[in-house]
């Protein structure tokens, strides 16, 4: 079934601009001007006084959403499992951090919470405490109406034991409050430019793109609850230099995805460049969605 996408933006897109040349109010106004409806934040970044914002700030946040006709989408948090130099976080401590973030996210109106989980291996296997930590807060997530969604992020592809373990968890618990967040960086099929100071020896292979086949989405679509539309550079001709949207958009359409595409710009950090890049991405994806709808058989 062909469902329309929802369009949003993560404040991550404005990294380095946010708090130096861009306020929260500026950012929300830019997102609204795109015709987008969703705003995504990182809790420990965009909430002053995290994890205990003043109530005046919480009121301001809700006013900001209303004025700009935006809804709070996804709230990013972390399970910082390598807690200190000498010891790892326990599952109980992890659950306490998730509990805190779920409650704060709900207070701000968010529907999704993405925990970024610390890893224990070179190929990004998450610390095994994630399972107990998440299970301890599933009832709370249910009561708050929130879906917890770890991200599938390069260099981890869709067909991978880490993804299997998340799906097994959903099947074992039968929960509806846990799902997958896809980061579109996994579809990157051309190399990123080198960052300032990065030499060929420093290059990590996955920055050249892990080239996941967009059709792999179909195998996991039942579990995908949110998408971070990661990108790095879009030209004046609306050509993305790294992410093959012309294949990703039709695959999402065929899979029947009707959730959010939340922009995550992760390119050069010249002041305000992010604002223009996000506009180009929305123009590009909206055009591809229109093209697909125009050529797709009527449902």
């Amino acid at each position: 079934m062909n469902k329309p996408f929802n369009y949003g933006v993560s404040l991550y897109s404005f990294t380095d601009d946010f708090g130096t040349v861009l306020t929260l109010d500026d950012a929300a106004s830019h997102i609204a001007d795109l015709g987008a409806t969703g705003i995504e934040i990182l809790g420990e970044a965009h909430i002053p006084g995290y994890p205990n914002p003043r109530s005046a700030w919480v009121d301001h946040w809700h006013g900001l959403l209303e004025r700009n006709k935006l809804e709070a989408t996804n709230y990013g948090c972390w399970l910082d499992t390598r807690l200190t130099v000498s010891r790892r976080m326990t599952a109980k401590e992890g659950a306490a951090d998730l509990d805190r973030d779920l409650r704060l996210a709900a207070r701000l109106g968010f529907k999704f919470v993405r925990p970024k989980i610390g890893v224990v291996s070179f190929d990004l296997v998450p610390d095994p405490i994630w399972e107990e930590a998440v299970e301890r807060v599933l009832d709370l997530a249910h009561d708050l109406g929130i879906v917890i969604c770890p991200e599938i992020h390069a260099p981890t592809p869709i067909r991978h034991p880490v993804v299997d373990s998340y799906i097994n968890f959903i099947q074992r618990t039968g929960t509806r409050n846990f799902g997958l967040l896809l980061d579109t960086g996994i579809f990157q099929d051309r190399p990123l430019p080198h960052w300032p100071g990065e030499t060929p020896e420093m290059r990590r292979d996955f920055l050249n793109g892990i080239k996941v086949d967009p059709d792999d989405i179909l195998a996991v679509i039942d579990y995908v609850v949110f998408i971070q539309a990661k990108f790095h550079s879009i030209t004046t001709r609306l050509e993305d230099e790294n992410i093959p949207w012309e294949r990703v958009v039709p695959a999402l359409k065929r899979a029947g995805y009707g959730g959010y595409l939340s922009s995550e710009y992760e390119g050069a950090r010249d002041p305000w460049r992010s604002l223009e890049q996000v506009r180009r991405q929305h123009a590009l994806i909206r055009k591809l969605e229109r093209d697909y709808d125009a050529s797709a058989p009527v449902q």
């Binding site: 420990e44 130099v85 989980i117």
Partner: protein, 133 residues
């Protein structure tokens, strides 16, 4: 709002204790897209005009408290918010001479979601900055 550069122009000055200049201090914003608990901050190296002041000895001041490196590493409840500059305190008898200095900062961050082989992340930036007196 904070300045764009890691090292902030505001707050670069000598420290005087009981009439003696014992060191200098500067303000730095967190070079990350997120705030972090202090136990994930592994200190800040400061190099002024080629002279290195290592992260093992510099102290960091945040939220009205000053931390040695050992104290930072155990501070799991205190946080460095993205919107706040930290003060780096460096011991140097006599302080820095008034005038323009080349200052390099290297902030060391431990990011648990990155494989340990690539940690800590060291983010450095060099700029000119001025001690007024």
């Amino acid at each position: 709002m904070l300045e764009r550069s890691l090292m902030q122009t505001h707050g670069f000055r000598n420290i005087e204790t009981h009439g003696t200049t014992t060191g200098f201090q500067l303000r730095v914003r967190l070079p990350s897209y997120r705030g972090m608990r202090l136990s994930l901050i592994d200190g800040v190296d400061v190099t002024v005009d080629g002279e290195l002041f290592g992260h093992e000895r510099n102290r960091l001041s945040l939220g009205g408290r000053t931390y040695s490196l050992a104290e930072l590493r155990e501070a799991t409840d205190a946080r460095w918010p993205l919107e706040e500059a930290a003060v780096v305190i460096v011991d140097k008898q006599g302080g820095l001479t008034p005038g323009v200095h080349e200052v390099e900062l290297a902030v060391r961050l431990r990011q648990p979601y990155i494989p340990i082989e690539f940690q800590p992340s060291v983010i450095s930036e060099t700029r000119h900055a001025t001690i007024v007196f």
